[in-house]
Structures are given as structure tokens and as C-alpha cells.
Symmetry: C2
Subunit: 343 residues, 2 copies
């Protein structure tokens, strides 16, 4: 919180170009900006953790089809967790821990409307970007409200080792379902079973995914919690159960492609009277508090963890960290921990 010392230069990550393929360090440039100061009604937020979100790859595309875009020359949008270091807003005080949408920089200005107060006795500050934040809430309402698996039903979660998948698997187990994770590589698969309690996990990089799903789910798949789309979704769709449901939370395998491919095996929806349902967690915003109360209690009881992959670095490391995210290096929510972090 040395916001006013000369040492605190403000690094910012700017999109350099519309990327092709995997988004990585070369697609960004780092700019040094002056320290911001709070105007009337404003606060200055010091970032402690940067959130890495797969969806960023989608909004840097050269497309008019998305509500938000980051264009070349723009500060990269994302969420951070940090502290208010200066406030001219009566609702916020210096020292408050917050999640803010101030983008990839050390210090950002907010009018307070985008801030969320973080009670770090409920969950660690970094978890407010992940398991206790949007990722965990997405998984919570997806499983308990959108899917509602019954005991004995089979839930397949792809991107299972990711920020949302790790949480969804834990929640689906609490609901009594049989939970199959799909992830890349044997180490992640073992981790899902040993550490997070998945019933089984399938490595999509090794062998015939469809055959392995048939083996793992002899009674077919009641719910596919889809974070990745593409061939992993397609192979699962071929084995969906009668009146099964795909809950569509993301399509990360497609975000880096020049042309997005739809699920070619969607023909099976007809045969099996199944559905693909889109879903946006913010529709449940009025119940976030209740979900968090449950999550905090389950964590205290040792029944729930908020897995995270912490990249120790600074703002300029954002590009490399994002590349690592898309290379599947993370287990759980990926964050960059900045030098200012005090928790």
C-alpha cells in the first residue's frame, strides 16, 4: 500500500494485435503509465492477484459478434483481486479487499460500481477470483440448479482440471452423482481422483476417448458439463443418455481457431431427445451470497477445496501465464500473484 511512493510505477498490459492461434506474450506489449489518482467518487485499486480467464481469447477476436471486445491498443480487460489504496467514495475505504474489473495493471481507477468486497475470513483473497469467485459460482449453479443430477446419475466434466471443472466435479459428487473428469495427461487425471474425489478421470490425449467413455460410463452419460467444445464434446455426445443434457459453460478448444466449429455430433441430440443448454451465472446473482455461505461452510468442514495454480510474478508476466493456461499447465484456477500481495 505504498501507493504514493516513486517505486510504484504502474505497468499495464496492452493488446498489441489481433492474435492468431494461441494467445501468448508476443500478442501483448507492456506500457509504463503514471500512478493514477482518485477523482471525485473514485477509488484507486492496487492489484494483488490477476485473474486468468479463458474467455479473454474470445473477446480479442476480430468479430462483431461479441458484446465485449478488447481491440489492439486497449488495456486488457480482466478481473483482479486487491485492495483499495485511495478512496474518494463513501462506500469504500482504503484497506478494503476487493475484486475489481480494473484490467491487467498494478493500479486502476474504479467508480466503485464494479467492486466486490472480499471478506478474507470466508476464503483467501485469491480464491475470490476462482473457486470462491465466478468460477466456483458458475460450477455451483450449473450443478445444483441447471443440471440437478440425481444420485447414481453420471456427470462428465470436461476441462475437469480447470477453474470451473475442479469445482463442478466436487459439487457433482456432493449431489451424489458418479463423476467422470476429462483432462489432458495422466498426472492431472490422477490428481482429479486422488485429491478432488472424482470417481474416475479420462485422459483425452491418450487413445480413443469415445471407447474410454463407454467403458467408464456403461449406462451412458446423463450430463455433460462442457467447458471445451470441439472433439472432446463430440466424443461425449456420441454416448449421451436418453434425455441427457449438455450444459454449455465454455468452448475453449474453439476460441483460438480461425473458424469456430460447432458440435458435429449434435445429431445425437435428436436420437436421444437430449439438449444443449446455454447458461450465464449472473442470472443467479441474487443468490451468490447463499452459495458462498455454503461454500465457506463446506470448506471449513474439509469437504471442499478451491484449487489454484499460482504464477508468482508481476503484471508483465500476464502474457506468458495466459499462454500457460491455454497449454493446460494449470490445475485449478490460474492467477498471477503480484509483489503487492499481502495475503
Amino acid at each position: 500500500m505504498n501507493a504514493n511512493t516513486e517505486d510504484n510505477r504502474n505497468s499495464q498490459v496492452i493488446l498489441r494485435q489481433v492474435p492468431t492461434g494461441l494467445l501468448g506474450p508476443d500478442d501483448f506489449e507492456v506500457r509504463q503509465a503514471p500512478m493514477p489518482t482518485a477523482g471525485d467518487g473514485e477509488v484507486v485499486v492496487e492489484a494483488h492477484y490477476l485473474s486468468l480467464d479463458a474467455a479473454l481469447r474470445l473477446i480479442v477476436r476480430d468479430s462483431k459478434d461479441f458484446l465485449f471486445r478488447v481491440e489492439p491498443g486497449d488495456l486488457v480487460r480482466n478481473s483482479v483481486a486487491g485492495r483499495v489504496v485511495e478512496s474518494n467514495n463513501p462506500d469504500w475505504a482504503a484497506g478494503d479487499y476487493v475484486v475489481a474489473a480494473t484490467g491487467v495493471q498494478n493500479y486502476g481507477i474504479s467508480d466503485g460500481s464494479d467492486l466486490e468486497l472480499c471478506d478474507i475470513t470466508q476464503a483467501p483473497l485469491s480464491a475470490w477470483l476462482g473457486g470462491f469467485g465466478v468460477s466456483g459460482l458458475t460450477a455451483y449453479f450449473a450443478i445444483f440448479d441447471e443440471c440437478k443430477p440425481q444420485p447414481g446419475q453420471t456427470v462428465v466434466i470436461n476441462g475437469a482440471a480447470g477453474a470451473v471443472g475442479t469445482m463442478a466435479g466436487q459439487f457433482a459428487k456432493m449431489a451424489g452423482a458418479r463423476v467422470i473428469g476429462i483432462a489432458g495427461g495422466p498426472e492431472k487425471c490422477k490428481w482429479l481422483v486422488d485429491e478432488l474425489g472424482f470417481d474416475t478421470a479420462v485422459d483425452y490425449k491418450d487413445g480413443d476417448l469415445y471407447e474410454k467413455l463407454v467403458e467408464a460410463a456403461p449406462d451412458r452419460i446423463d450430463f455433460i458439463f462442457d467447458n471445451v467444445g470441439g472433439s472432446v464434446l463430440n466424443e461425449s455426445l456420441r454416448w449421451i443418455a436418453l434425455r441427457g443434457k449438455v450444459l454449455m459453460c465454455g468452448s475453449t478448444s474453439q476460441y483460438s481457431e480461425e473458424e469456430i466449429s460447432g458440435p458435429s455430433q449434435y445429431i445425437w441430440l435428436g436420437t436421444m431427445r437430449a439438449s444443449i443448454q446455454g447458461y450465464v451465472v449472473y442470472d443467479y446473482a441474487d443468490r451468490f451470497d447463499i452459495a458462498r455461505k455454503h461454500m465457506a461452510q463446506w470448506r471449513a468442514e474439509g469437504r471442499l477445496s478451491f484449487p489454484e495454480h499460482v504464477y508468482e510474478g508481476d503484471v508483465p508476466d500476464f502474457g506468458q501465464a495466459f499462454h500457460d493456461l491455454y497449454s493446460g499447465r494449470n490445475k485449478g484456477k490460474m492467477v498471477v500473484k503480484l509483489p503487492a500481495a499481502d495475503t
Copy 2:
């Protein structure tokens, strides 16, 4: 009903090869077979009308993914409407009008289990293959049970001039919806509006389909009744309403393709909390009678028609008629009327 005279040779249409591209006459061969005779418990059915069904293109593919297949050398499967001409089955009498699954031939054997009795005072015999048959029933339960559009909601029907689309449009109007048809060519579009009461119709072959849908449906699209998939579905998905629904009845644009493409714009399902729902009419089999009672009454009141395109010919014309179907030559259900037809 001269089943036993020498004149009645039995022509059969056999799949010659796994087709590439549009299925047409060259993919079939015509074989002359002896007249069948009914064994114990069996009946002989004389075909009067051959049904042309787009889904045939799917089951002649070289794929293990479908429950039914027609392989090279097989008699082509389809439904016919005709009469029982010989019966050794106590449930059926010579003279009964029936729909049968005896395939593309003049005379076929049935054990009776696949037969459906046709009361031709309710609807003409040919309509039992179309508007009063599976096509109309598919549209009926799709609109009234699966979609349930409310007055003022917007329903887009693609393949609107086809066997199912023509019926779905009429039912959606009865439900009070605003109905937009998508069809190929100005003549079909005019016909949908003038003859079937669609509110408007859009020619997908002329100009930018998305722009035209935005213009025709200023409040977005609540339901997409999808018979065709591919780009026509994709352009519609870009304009789906919040919590909109795609009811998936067919994907005819994809059946002739080497690789089936999924709906690349399915990303919009997420943004709009929308869904794609698969559907099989046979789940409603216990209510077919009630639906037909309504349909017969509506027809008697002049509120419902069963559009059909009658190809006058004989069994060997099946291949050309199928090619015409996929070339979009039909308005309404396409059938081949055989010389034996007496109604």
C-alpha cells in the same frame, strides 16, 4: 388388387452404392422380383403411394452411428400407403387401407406388426404419409408440446416449404405466434404467405439471411424449428432471443456432406441462455389419435391443409423423385403415386 395376375410384376428399388453428394437415380438399381405370397400370419401389401423422406440420406451413409442403415444391395426402406391384397392374419383384411414399412416396391410382405390402419374418411390416403402422418404429427407435438409458443412470440421455421415445415407453420399460427418461414426461392416464399398463412417468408438463396431475419423479427427469435441445420440454422442462431429454443427435427443440409458440420454459432446459446433440444415424435405415440382428431376437424373447418407434391410414376421413379426432393422441387410432402392407386 390384381395381386395374382401375371401383369403384376413386383419392381424393387435396391441401393447400388454408398452415395456421395446428392442421392439420385444412379445410386439405385431396379430389380424385378416375383410376386410375394402371404405365409402364415402374414399379409401382402400393395403400395399406392411411396413416401419420400429426407432422413433416408442419413441411413445410407457408411457410418456405424445410426440405429438403422440401408446398405448396398438392400431394398430401400421407406413407408408406403396402400392396401392389403391378401391376408393370413386375423387382424387385417383384404381391402384395408394401410401405411406399411414394406420399402420401395410394389408389393411387400408384413407380419402385421408394422401396419397402421388408415381411415380415408379422416384424410386422403396419401396424407397418411404426410400431413396426417408422421410429418404432420412431428409438427403437431413439436409446436404444441415441445415449443408451446405464446401469442406474440416469434417462431422461425426453416425448410418451411417441406413436409414438416408446412405443417409446423400452420400449427404455430394457430398458437398465435408470429411465423417466419425460411425457404428457397421467391415462388415458395410467396406460396407460404399466400396459401399457408405464414406472416412472412425469407428466401435463404437471396441476399444476407441474417440481415433479413433481423428485419423480419425485430424482437429476435423465440423458437427456431430446425429441419435443415448448417448455415441457415447458424444465421438464425445469431438472432435468437433470450432463453430462446431451437427444436431440432432434422439437419437435411448436412445429410449429403462427407463431414457433418455442427452449428458453429452455438456459442450464442451461452450468451442468450438458449437451448437446442432434440425431439422424437414417437415419444408421443399414445396421443397420435387425439392429434389426428384435431387435425381432421381443423381440415374440415378449412383451417388446415395437408400440402403435398405428387410425383406421378412408378417404383423405378423413386430415385429421381428423391433427387427432386433434395433439389427442393417440392412444396409440401413429396410422394410417388403408383399406378395401383385407387384414391
